[in-house]
Protein backbone atom coordinates (compact mmCIF):
# COMPACT_ATOMS: atom_id res chain seq x y z
CA UNK A 1 0.00 0.00 0.00
CA UNK A 2 1.45 3.35 -1.06
CA UNK A 3 1.84 6.15 1.43
CA UNK A 4 -0.83 8.81 1.76
CA UNK A 5 0.46 11.94 0.07
CA UNK A 6 -2.44 14.29 0.69
CA UNK A 7 -4.85 14.01 3.59
CA UNK A 8 -7.78 16.45 3.66
CA UNK A 9 -9.95 16.49 6.79
CA UNK A 10 -12.87 18.77 7.63
CA UNK A 11 -11.80 21.39 5.10
CA UNK A 12 -13.92 24.53 5.18
CA UNK A 13 -13.45 27.52 2.89
CA UNK A 14 -15.07 30.89 2.41
CA UNK A 15 -15.07 33.56 -0.30
CA UNK A 16 -15.88 36.69 1.65
CA UNK A 17 -19.25 35.98 3.27
CA UNK A 18 -20.06 32.85 1.25
CA UNK A 19 -19.23 29.57 2.92
CA UNK A 20 -18.28 27.24 0.03
CA UNK A 21 -16.70 24.12 1.55
CA UNK A 22 -18.39 22.50 4.54
CA UNK A 23 -15.95 19.89 5.80
CA UNK A 24 -14.34 18.12 2.85
CA UNK A 25 -12.60 14.78 3.57
CA UNK A 26 -10.49 12.71 1.18
CA UNK A 27 -7.04 11.20 0.65
CA UNK A 28 -4.69 10.91 -2.27
CA UNK A 29 -1.97 8.25 -2.17
CA UNK A 30 1.44 8.61 -3.72
CA UNK A 31 1.44 7.81 -7.44
CA UNK A 32 -2.34 7.85 -7.79
CA UNK A 33 -4.52 9.80 -10.19
CA UNK A 34 -7.65 10.82 -8.29
CA UNK A 35 -10.53 12.88 -9.64
CA UNK A 36 -13.05 15.14 -8.02
CA UNK A 37 -16.36 14.81 -9.86
CA UNK A 38 -19.48 16.83 -9.27
CA UNK A 39 -21.86 19.38 -10.68
CA UNK A 40 -20.99 23.02 -11.26
CA UNK A 41 -20.76 24.81 -7.95
CA UNK A 42 -20.18 21.61 -5.94
CA UNK A 43 -16.89 23.04 -4.61
CA UNK A 44 -14.32 21.18 -6.75
CA UNK A 45 -12.33 24.22 -7.89
CA UNK A 46 -12.53 25.76 -4.41
CA UNK A 47 -11.11 22.52 -2.98
CA UNK A 48 -8.15 22.73 -5.41
CA UNK A 49 -7.56 26.40 -4.60
CA UNK A 50 -7.82 25.72 -0.87
CA UNK A 51 -5.15 23.02 -1.08
CA UNK A 52 -2.89 25.47 -2.96
CA UNK A 53 -3.54 28.26 -0.45
CA UNK A 54 -5.35 30.43 -2.99
CA UNK A 55 -8.50 30.85 -0.89
CA UNK A 56 -8.17 33.54 1.76
CA UNK A 57 -10.22 31.97 4.51
CA UNK A 58 -9.96 28.27 5.18
CA UNK A 59 -10.15 25.96 8.19
CA UNK A 60 -9.75 22.26 8.93
CA UNK A 61 -6.72 20.21 7.97
CA UNK A 62 -4.77 19.71 4.74
CA UNK A 63 -1.72 17.53 5.33
CA UNK A 64 0.84 17.07 2.55
CA UNK A 65 3.33 14.27 3.32
CA UNK A 66 2.45 14.76 6.97
CA UNK A 67 2.96 18.56 7.01
CA UNK A 68 -0.03 20.71 7.94
CA UNK A 69 -0.50 23.33 5.18
CA UNK A 70 -3.85 24.90 5.96
CA UNK A 71 -2.26 27.96 7.57
CA UNK A 72 0.60 28.34 5.08
CA UNK A 73 0.97 30.97 2.38
CA UNK A 74 0.68 29.68 -1.19
CA UNK A 75 4.38 30.18 -2.00
CA UNK A 76 5.35 28.03 1.02
CA UNK A 77 2.91 25.33 -0.08
CA UNK A 78 4.45 25.38 -3.57
CA UNK A 79 7.90 24.77 -2.10
CA UNK A 80 6.61 21.66 -0.31
CA UNK A 81 5.97 20.20 -3.78
CA UNK A 82 2.41 21.00 -4.88
CA UNK A 83 1.65 22.81 -8.15
CA UNK A 84 -1.60 23.93 -9.74
CA UNK A 85 -2.80 24.19 -13.31
CA UNK A 86 -5.77 26.52 -12.82
CA UNK A 87 -9.10 26.22 -14.60
CA UNK A 88 -8.60 29.53 -16.44
CA UNK A 89 -5.08 28.25 -17.37
CA UNK A 90 -3.40 31.45 -16.20
CA UNK A 91 -1.17 32.03 -19.22
CA UNK A 92 0.53 35.42 -18.96
CA UNK A 93 -0.12 37.77 -21.88
CA UNK A 94 2.99 39.85 -21.30
CA UNK A 95 5.26 36.78 -21.41
CA UNK A 96 6.18 34.68 -24.42
CA UNK A 97 5.80 30.89 -24.42
CA UNK A 98 9.34 30.22 -23.17
CA UNK A 99 9.03 32.83 -20.42
CA UNK A 100 5.70 31.32 -19.36
CA UNK A 101 7.29 27.86 -19.32
CA UNK A 102 10.30 29.00 -17.28
CA UNK A 103 8.31 31.19 -14.85
CA UNK A 104 7.58 28.76 -11.99
CA UNK A 105 10.74 28.28 -9.90
CA UNK A 106 12.18 24.79 -9.42
CA UNK A 107 11.04 23.59 -5.99
CA UNK A 108 12.56 20.10 -5.97
CA UNK A 109 14.68 17.82 -8.15
CA UNK A 110 12.92 15.31 -10.40
CA UNK A 111 10.97 17.62 -12.68
CA UNK A 112 10.89 17.20 -16.44
CA UNK A 113 13.52 18.96 -18.55
CA UNK A 114 12.45 21.48 -21.16
CA UNK A 115 13.39 18.94 -23.86
CA UNK A 116 11.10 16.33 -22.27
CA UNK A 117 8.25 18.85 -22.09
CA UNK A 118 8.83 19.69 -25.76
CA UNK A 119 8.67 15.95 -26.52
CA UNK A 120 5.28 15.74 -24.80
CA UNK A 121 4.00 18.95 -26.42
CA UNK A 122 5.88 19.64 -29.69
CA UNK A 123 3.68 22.70 -30.37
CA UNK A 124 5.31 24.52 -27.46
CA UNK A 125 8.70 24.19 -29.11
CA UNK A 126 7.46 25.52 -32.45
CA UNK A 127 5.81 28.52 -30.80
CA UNK A 128 8.51 29.29 -28.22
CA UNK A 129 8.72 32.99 -29.13
CA UNK A 130 4.98 33.64 -29.44
CA UNK A 131 3.09 35.73 -26.93
CA UNK A 132 1.50 33.33 -24.41
CA UNK A 133 -2.09 34.31 -25.05
CA UNK A 134 -1.70 34.14 -28.86
CA UNK A 135 -1.69 30.33 -28.57
CA UNK A 136 -4.80 28.27 -29.27
CA UNK A 137 -6.81 27.05 -26.29
CA UNK A 138 -5.26 23.58 -26.55
CA UNK A 139 -1.73 24.96 -26.75
CA UNK A 140 -2.38 27.21 -23.77
CA UNK A 141 -3.52 24.16 -21.82
CA UNK A 142 -0.33 22.30 -22.82
CA UNK A 143 1.70 25.28 -21.64
CA UNK A 144 -0.19 25.46 -18.35
CA UNK A 145 0.48 21.76 -17.70
CA UNK A 146 4.01 21.81 -19.11
CA UNK A 147 5.25 24.62 -16.90
CA UNK A 148 4.32 22.80 -13.67
CA UNK A 149 5.98 19.57 -14.82
CA UNK A 150 9.31 21.41 -14.81
CA UNK A 151 9.22 22.46 -11.16
CA UNK A 152 9.76 19.09 -9.51
CA UNK A 153 6.43 19.35 -7.65
CA UNK A 154 5.19 15.80 -7.07
CA UNK A 155 1.49 16.53 -6.53
CA UNK A 156 -0.15 18.21 -9.52
CA UNK A 157 -3.58 19.81 -9.21
CA UNK A 158 -5.18 19.89 -12.67
CA UNK A 159 -8.42 21.85 -12.78
CA UNK A 160 -10.55 20.83 -15.78
CA UNK A 161 -7.65 20.44 -18.21
CA UNK A 162 -9.93 19.21 -21.03
CA UNK A 163 -12.59 21.91 -20.80
CA UNK A 164 -13.58 23.27 -24.21
CA UNK A 165 -10.88 21.38 -26.12
CA UNK A 166 -11.09 19.35 -29.33
CA UNK A 167 -11.20 15.52 -28.90
CA UNK A 168 -7.71 15.05 -30.39
CA UNK A 169 -6.25 17.45 -27.79
CA UNK A 170 -8.23 15.77 -25.01
CA UNK A 171 -6.61 12.47 -26.05
CA UNK A 172 -3.18 14.10 -25.99
CA UNK A 173 -3.80 15.40 -22.47
CA UNK A 174 -5.00 11.93 -21.44
CA UNK A 175 -1.75 10.43 -22.76
CA UNK A 176 0.19 13.09 -20.86
CA UNK A 177 -1.53 12.31 -17.58
CA UNK A 178 -0.83 8.59 -17.99
CA UNK A 179 2.79 9.37 -18.90
CA UNK A 180 3.42 11.53 -15.83
CA UNK A 181 1.74 8.91 -13.62
CA UNK A 182 4.27 6.42 -15.06
CA UNK A 183 7.01 8.78 -13.93
CA UNK A 184 5.70 8.73 -10.37
CA UNK A 185 3.78 12.00 -10.26
CA UNK A 186 0.58 12.15 -8.23
CA UNK A 187 -2.39 13.90 -9.81
CA UNK A 188 -5.57 15.37 -8.36
CA UNK A 189 -7.89 16.09 -11.25
CA UNK A 190 -11.12 18.05 -11.43
CA UNK A 191 -13.30 16.89 -14.31
CA UNK A 192 -16.79 17.49 -15.64
CA UNK A 193 -16.21 14.83 -18.28
CA UNK A 194 -16.21 11.53 -16.38
CA UNK A 195 -15.79 9.54 -19.59
CA UNK A 196 -12.39 11.20 -19.84
CA UNK A 197 -11.77 10.80 -16.10
CA UNK A 198 -12.41 7.06 -16.39
CA UNK A 199 -9.54 6.72 -18.90
CA UNK A 200 -6.90 8.16 -16.56
CA UNK A 201 -7.98 7.85 -12.92
CA UNK A 202 -7.57 5.23 -10.19
CA UNK A 203 -10.33 6.54 -7.96
CA UNK A 204 -13.08 9.16 -8.04
CA UNK A 205 -14.56 11.28 -5.28
CA UNK A 206 -17.97 12.79 -5.86
CA UNK A 207 -18.61 16.24 -4.40
CA UNK A 208 -21.91 18.00 -3.82
CA UNK A 209 -22.76 21.19 -1.93
CA UNK A 210 -19.25 21.61 -0.55
CA UNK A 211 -18.71 18.08 0.82
CA UNK A 212 -17.48 14.74 -0.51
CA UNK A 213 -20.54 12.48 -0.79
CA UNK A 214 -19.10 9.31 -2.29
CA UNK A 215 -16.01 7.48 -3.40
CA UNK A 216 -15.85 5.14 -6.40
CA UNK A 217 -12.93 3.03 -7.58
CA UNK A 218 -12.33 3.31 -11.30
CA UNK A 219 -12.72 -0.48 -11.67
CA UNK A 220 -16.20 -0.21 -10.11
CA UNK A 221 -17.25 2.74 -12.25
CA UNK A 222 -19.30 0.66 -14.69
CA UNK A 223 -21.43 -0.90 -11.95
CA UNK A 224 -22.02 2.50 -10.36
CA UNK A 225 -23.10 4.34 -13.52
CA UNK A 226 -26.67 4.83 -12.41
CA UNK A 227 -25.64 6.30 -9.06
CA UNK A 228 -23.10 8.55 -10.78
CA UNK A 229 -25.66 9.84 -13.25
CA UNK A 230 -27.82 10.72 -10.30
CA UNK A 231 -24.99 12.65 -8.57
CA UNK A 232 -23.97 14.52 -11.66
CA UNK A 233 -27.48 15.13 -12.92
CA UNK A 234 -26.72 13.94 -16.43
Amino acid sequence: MADTMLEVRGLNAWYGESHILHGVDFDVKEGEVVTLLGRNGAGKTTTMKSIMGLVGQRAGSVKFKGTETVDLRSDRIAHLGIAICPEERGIFASLNVTENLMLPPIVAPGGLSVAEIHDLFPNLKERAGSQGTKLSGGEQQMLAIGRILRTGAKLLLLDEPTEGLAPVIVQQIGRTIRAIKERGFTVLLVEQNFHFAATVADRHYVMDHGVVVDQIKNSELASNMEKLHDYLGV
Binding site: L54, S74, A93, L95, E99, L103, P105
Partner: protein, 295 residues
Protein backbone atom coordinates in the same frame (compact mmCIF):
# COMPACT_ATOMS: atom_id res chain seq x y z
CA UNK B 1 24.09 79.73 -40.30
CA UNK B 2 21.32 77.13 -40.58
CA UNK B 3 17.92 78.65 -41.31
CA UNK B 4 14.57 76.82 -41.41
CA UNK B 5 11.25 78.65 -42.01
CA UNK B 6 13.01 81.92 -41.26
CA UNK B 7 14.24 80.69 -37.86
CA UNK B 8 17.84 80.28 -36.98
CA UNK B 9 18.16 76.56 -36.27
CA UNK B 10 20.97 76.89 -33.71
CA UNK B 11 18.94 78.36 -30.84
CA UNK B 12 16.03 75.98 -31.51
CA UNK B 13 18.30 72.99 -31.21
CA UNK B 14 19.92 74.60 -28.20
CA UNK B 15 16.60 74.92 -26.39
CA UNK B 16 15.66 71.44 -27.51
CA UNK B 17 18.80 69.95 -25.99
CA UNK B 18 18.27 71.83 -22.73
CA UNK B 19 14.71 70.52 -22.78
CA UNK B 20 16.08 67.01 -23.10
CA UNK B 21 17.97 67.57 -19.80
CA UNK B 22 14.61 68.14 -18.09
CA UNK B 23 13.26 65.22 -20.09
CA UNK B 24 16.00 62.99 -18.68
CA UNK B 25 14.65 63.64 -15.18
CA UNK B 26 11.04 63.19 -16.32
CA UNK B 27 12.01 59.83 -17.83
CA UNK B 28 13.88 58.58 -14.73
CA UNK B 29 11.06 59.59 -12.39
CA UNK B 30 8.17 58.36 -14.52
CA UNK B 31 9.99 55.06 -15.05
CA UNK B 32 10.01 54.40 -11.29
CA UNK B 33 6.37 55.49 -11.01
CA UNK B 34 5.40 53.15 -13.85
CA UNK B 35 7.16 50.14 -12.31
CA UNK B 36 5.58 50.82 -8.92
CA UNK B 37 2.12 51.40 -10.36
CA UNK B 38 2.35 48.25 -12.47
CA UNK B 39 3.09 45.88 -9.63
CA UNK B 40 1.74 47.59 -6.51
CA UNK B 41 -1.26 49.37 -8.00
CA UNK B 42 -0.19 52.36 -5.94
CA UNK B 43 0.04 55.86 -7.38
CA UNK B 44 3.18 56.87 -5.55
CA UNK B 45 2.67 60.53 -4.76
CA UNK B 46 5.73 60.42 -2.51
CA UNK B 47 7.94 60.00 -5.57
CA UNK B 48 8.85 63.69 -5.83
CA UNK B 49 9.66 63.90 -2.13
CA UNK B 50 11.88 60.82 -2.36
CA UNK B 51 13.65 62.34 -5.37
CA UNK B 52 14.29 65.43 -3.24
CA UNK B 53 15.45 63.19 -0.40
CA UNK B 54 18.03 61.66 -2.76
CA UNK B 55 19.48 65.12 -3.36
CA UNK B 56 19.37 65.97 0.36
CA UNK B 57 21.18 62.74 1.28
CA UNK B 58 23.85 63.51 -1.32
CA UNK B 59 24.24 67.00 0.18
CA UNK B 60 24.55 65.49 3.69
CA UNK B 61 27.10 62.94 2.53
CA UNK B 62 29.20 65.73 0.99
CA UNK B 63 28.97 68.29 3.78
CA UNK B 64 29.05 66.04 6.85
CA UNK B 65 31.03 63.03 5.71
CA UNK B 66 33.03 64.46 2.83
CA UNK B 67 31.64 61.84 0.46
CA UNK B 68 31.59 63.25 -3.05
CA UNK B 69 29.27 63.01 -6.04
CA UNK B 70 30.41 59.69 -7.53
CA UNK B 71 30.03 57.53 -4.40
CA UNK B 72 26.80 59.37 -3.59
CA UNK B 73 25.31 58.24 -6.89
CA UNK B 74 25.37 54.78 -5.36
CA UNK B 75 25.04 55.43 -1.60
CA UNK B 76 22.12 57.91 -1.64
CA UNK B 77 19.81 55.62 -3.68
CA UNK B 78 20.63 52.72 -1.33
CA UNK B 79 19.78 54.80 1.76
CA UNK B 80 16.59 56.27 0.27
CA UNK B 81 15.64 52.89 -1.24
CA UNK B 82 15.94 51.33 2.23
CA UNK B 83 13.69 54.11 3.55
CA UNK B 84 11.23 53.19 0.77
CA UNK B 85 11.32 49.52 1.82
CA UNK B 86 10.53 50.64 5.38
CA UNK B 87 7.57 52.74 4.16
CA UNK B 88 6.30 49.82 2.10
CA UNK B 89 6.55 47.29 4.93
CA UNK B 90 5.07 49.47 7.67
CA UNK B 91 2.38 51.40 5.79
CA UNK B 92 1.84 50.98 2.06
CA UNK B 93 1.55 47.17 2.22
CA UNK B 94 -1.54 47.54 4.42
CA UNK B 95 -3.41 49.22 1.56
CA UNK B 96 -3.07 46.78 -1.35
CA UNK B 97 -6.55 45.37 -0.92
CA UNK B 98 -8.16 48.83 -0.90
CA UNK B 99 -8.98 51.29 -3.68
CA UNK B 100 -6.11 53.16 -5.42
CA UNK B 101 -7.27 56.32 -3.72
CA UNK B 102 -6.04 55.18 -0.29
CA UNK B 103 -2.52 54.58 -1.54
CA UNK B 104 -2.56 57.95 -3.25
CA UNK B 105 -3.68 59.71 -0.06
CA UNK B 106 -1.12 57.89 2.09
CA UNK B 107 1.80 58.61 -0.23
CA UNK B 108 0.64 62.21 -0.64
CA UNK B 109 0.72 62.51 3.15
CA UNK B 110 4.20 61.00 3.28
CA UNK B 111 5.31 63.52 0.63
CA UNK B 112 3.97 66.46 2.68
CA UNK B 113 5.70 65.22 5.84
CA UNK B 114 9.05 64.60 4.14
CA UNK B 115 8.96 67.97 2.39
CA UNK B 116 7.81 69.76 5.54
CA UNK B 117 10.68 68.26 7.55
CA UNK B 118 13.17 69.25 4.85
CA UNK B 119 11.82 72.82 4.73
CA UNK B 120 11.96 73.04 8.51
CA UNK B 121 15.57 71.92 8.43
CA UNK B 122 16.95 73.84 5.45
CA UNK B 123 14.45 76.61 4.70
CA UNK B 124 13.23 76.91 1.15
CA UNK B 125 16.06 78.85 -0.44
CA UNK B 126 18.01 75.76 -1.47
CA UNK B 127 21.48 74.43 -0.76
CA UNK B 128 24.25 74.64 -3.32
CA UNK B 129 25.77 71.41 -4.66
CA UNK B 130 28.65 71.92 -6.99
CA UNK B 131 29.29 70.04 -10.19
CA UNK B 132 31.93 67.32 -9.72
CA UNK B 133 35.42 68.34 -10.84
CA UNK B 134 35.60 65.94 -13.78
CA UNK B 135 32.34 67.19 -15.34
CA UNK B 136 32.99 70.93 -15.13
CA UNK B 137 33.28 73.06 -18.23
CA UNK B 138 31.47 72.83 -21.50
CA UNK B 139 31.40 70.54 -24.50
CA UNK B 140 31.11 71.70 -28.08
CA UNK B 141 28.28 69.87 -29.87
CA UNK B 142 28.63 71.62 -33.23
CA UNK B 143 25.37 73.57 -33.13
CA UNK B 144 25.78 74.67 -29.50
CA UNK B 145 28.08 74.64 -26.52
CA UNK B 146 26.63 72.52 -23.74
CA UNK B 147 27.64 72.33 -20.07
CA UNK B 148 29.40 68.97 -19.78
CA UNK B 149 27.48 68.04 -16.62
CA UNK B 150 24.12 68.35 -18.41
CA UNK B 151 25.38 66.26 -21.27
CA UNK B 152 26.36 63.63 -18.70
CA UNK B 153 22.85 63.76 -17.19
CA UNK B 154 21.23 63.07 -20.56
CA UNK B 155 23.57 60.22 -21.44
CA UNK B 156 23.50 58.63 -17.98
CA UNK B 157 19.75 58.76 -17.63
CA UNK B 158 19.29 57.34 -21.12
CA UNK B 159 21.59 54.43 -20.22
CA UNK B 160 19.78 53.86 -16.91
CA UNK B 161 16.38 53.90 -18.62
CA UNK B 162 17.44 51.44 -21.32
CA UNK B 163 19.08 49.16 -18.74
CA UNK B 164 15.93 49.14 -16.62
CA UNK B 165 13.84 48.37 -19.68
CA UNK B 166 16.16 45.51 -20.68
CA UNK B 167 16.04 44.05 -17.17
CA UNK B 168 12.25 44.13 -17.21
CA UNK B 169 11.80 42.80 -20.74
CA UNK B 170 14.67 40.37 -21.24
CA UNK B 171 15.55 38.73 -17.92
CA UNK B 172 13.85 36.03 -15.81
CA UNK B 173 13.40 38.45 -12.90
CA UNK B 174 11.72 40.88 -15.31
CA UNK B 175 9.44 38.10 -16.56
CA UNK B 176 8.47 37.26 -12.98
CA UNK B 177 7.74 40.94 -12.34
CA UNK B 178 5.58 41.24 -15.46
CA UNK B 179 3.72 38.05 -14.57
CA UNK B 180 3.13 39.27 -11.01
CA UNK B 181 1.76 42.52 -12.44
CA UNK B 182 -0.82 40.44 -14.36
CA UNK B 183 -1.75 37.87 -11.71
CA UNK B 184 0.16 38.08 -8.44
CA UNK B 185 -1.82 35.32 -6.70
CA UNK B 186 -0.97 32.72 -9.35
CA UNK B 187 2.71 33.71 -9.45
CA UNK B 188 2.83 33.35 -5.67
CA UNK B 189 1.22 29.90 -5.88
CA UNK B 190 4.14 28.84 -8.11
CA UNK B 191 6.43 29.46 -5.15
CA UNK B 192 7.51 33.06 -5.71
CA UNK B 193 7.65 35.17 -2.56
CA UNK B 194 5.48 37.93 -4.02
CA UNK B 195 5.33 40.17 -0.92
CA UNK B 196 9.13 40.31 -0.94
CA UNK B 197 9.14 40.98 -4.70
CA UNK B 198 6.70 43.85 -4.18
CA UNK B 199 8.78 45.29 -1.34
CA UNK B 200 11.98 45.17 -3.40
CA UNK B 201 10.23 46.64 -6.43
CA UNK B 202 9.03 49.60 -4.40
CA UNK B 203 12.54 49.99 -3.00
CA UNK B 204 14.02 49.88 -6.51
CA UNK B 205 11.52 52.43 -7.85
CA UNK B 206 12.33 54.72 -4.93
CA UNK B 207 16.07 54.21 -5.41
CA UNK B 208 15.63 55.27 -9.04
CA UNK B 209 13.92 58.48 -7.85
CA UNK B 210 16.76 59.11 -5.40
CA UNK B 211 19.33 58.53 -8.15
CA UNK B 212 17.56 61.17 -10.24
CA UNK B 213 17.69 63.43 -7.17
CA UNK B 214 21.47 63.06 -6.83
CA UNK B 215 21.91 63.77 -10.52
CA UNK B 216 19.63 66.81 -10.23
CA UNK B 217 21.45 68.33 -7.24
CA UNK B 218 24.16 70.14 -9.27
CA UNK B 219 21.62 71.25 -11.90
CA UNK B 220 18.78 72.68 -9.80
CA UNK B 221 20.44 72.98 -6.34
CA UNK B 222 19.08 71.02 -3.38
CA UNK B 223 15.71 72.46 -2.55
CA UNK B 224 12.83 71.09 -0.43
CA UNK B 225 10.45 72.05 -3.24
CA UNK B 226 12.37 70.41 -6.06
CA UNK B 227 10.19 67.31 -5.87
CA UNK B 228 6.80 69.01 -5.90
CA UNK B 229 8.00 71.25 -8.75
CA UNK B 230 8.74 68.30 -11.00
CA UNK B 231 6.27 65.65 -9.87
CA UNK B 232 3.17 67.23 -11.43
CA UNK B 233 4.84 67.22 -14.85
CA UNK B 234 6.00 63.64 -14.22
CA UNK B 235 2.43 62.53 -13.51
CA UNK B 236 1.40 64.17 -16.79
CA UNK B 237 4.20 62.17 -18.48
CA UNK B 238 2.88 58.94 -16.98
CA UNK B 239 -0.68 59.72 -18.08
CA UNK B 240 0.44 60.63 -21.62
CA UNK B 241 2.73 57.61 -21.91
CA UNK B 242 0.16 55.21 -20.51
CA UNK B 243 -0.14 54.07 -16.89
CA UNK B 244 2.32 51.29 -16.17
CA UNK B 245 3.96 51.30 -19.62
CA UNK B 246 7.73 51.23 -19.16
CA UNK B 247 8.78 52.12 -22.69
CA UNK B 248 5.98 54.70 -22.83
CA UNK B 249 7.38 56.46 -19.75
CA UNK B 250 10.89 56.61 -21.15
CA UNK B 251 9.95 57.88 -24.61
CA UNK B 252 7.34 60.29 -23.29
CA UNK B 253 9.73 61.64 -20.65
CA UNK B 254 12.42 62.52 -23.15
CA UNK B 255 9.88 63.59 -25.77
CA UNK B 256 8.06 66.00 -23.49
CA UNK B 257 11.34 67.57 -22.35
CA UNK B 258 12.14 68.17 -25.99
CA UNK B 259 8.66 69.57 -26.65
CA UNK B 260 8.98 71.96 -23.68
CA UNK B 261 12.36 73.09 -24.98
CA UNK B 262 11.04 73.85 -28.47
CA UNK B 263 8.05 75.64 -27.02
CA UNK B 264 10.39 77.79 -24.95
CA UNK B 265 11.93 79.02 -28.18
CA UNK B 266 8.81 79.33 -30.32
CA UNK B 267 6.36 80.71 -27.76
CA UNK B 268 7.92 80.94 -24.29
CA UNK B 269 4.64 81.85 -22.56
CA UNK B 270 3.25 78.39 -23.37
CA UNK B 271 6.24 76.35 -22.22
CA UNK B 272 4.80 75.80 -18.74
CA UNK B 273 1.46 74.48 -19.97
CA UNK B 274 2.25 72.66 -23.21
CA UNK B 275 2.64 69.34 -21.36
CA UNK B 276 -0.77 69.67 -19.77
CA UNK B 277 -2.43 70.70 -23.02
CA UNK B 278 -0.99 67.56 -24.59
CA UNK B 279 -2.18 65.53 -21.59
CA UNK B 280 -5.73 66.79 -22.11
CA UNK B 281 -5.61 65.98 -25.83
CA UNK B 282 -4.28 62.47 -25.09
CA UNK B 283 -6.87 61.83 -22.39
CA UNK B 284 -9.66 62.86 -24.76
CA UNK B 285 -8.44 60.86 -27.74
CA UNK B 286 -6.52 57.91 -26.21
CA UNK B 287 -7.55 57.56 -22.56
CA UNK B 288 -5.14 54.62 -22.03
CA UNK B 289 -2.17 56.82 -23.06
CA UNK B 290 0.04 56.74 -26.13
CA UNK B 291 1.69 53.43 -25.19
CA UNK B 292 -0.89 51.99 -22.79
CA UNK B 293 -3.14 49.04 -23.51
CA UNK B 294 -6.83 49.75 -23.18
CA UNK B 295 -8.13 47.44 -20.46
Amino acid sequence: MLMVFGYNLGPILGQGVLGVVNGAFYALLSLGLAVIFGLLNIINFAHGALYMLGAVVAWFLLNYLGIGYWPSLFIAPVIVGAFGVLLERTMISKLYKLDHLYGLLLTFGIALIVEGLARNQFGSSGLPYSVPESLRGATRLGFMIMPTYRLWVVVASFVICITTWLVLEKTPIGATLRAATENAALVQSFGVNVPRLVMLTYGAGVALAALAGVMAAPVYSVNPNMGSDVIIVVFAVVVIGGMGSILGSILTGFGLGLLEGFTKFLYPEASGVVVFVLMIVVLLTRPAGLFGKAS
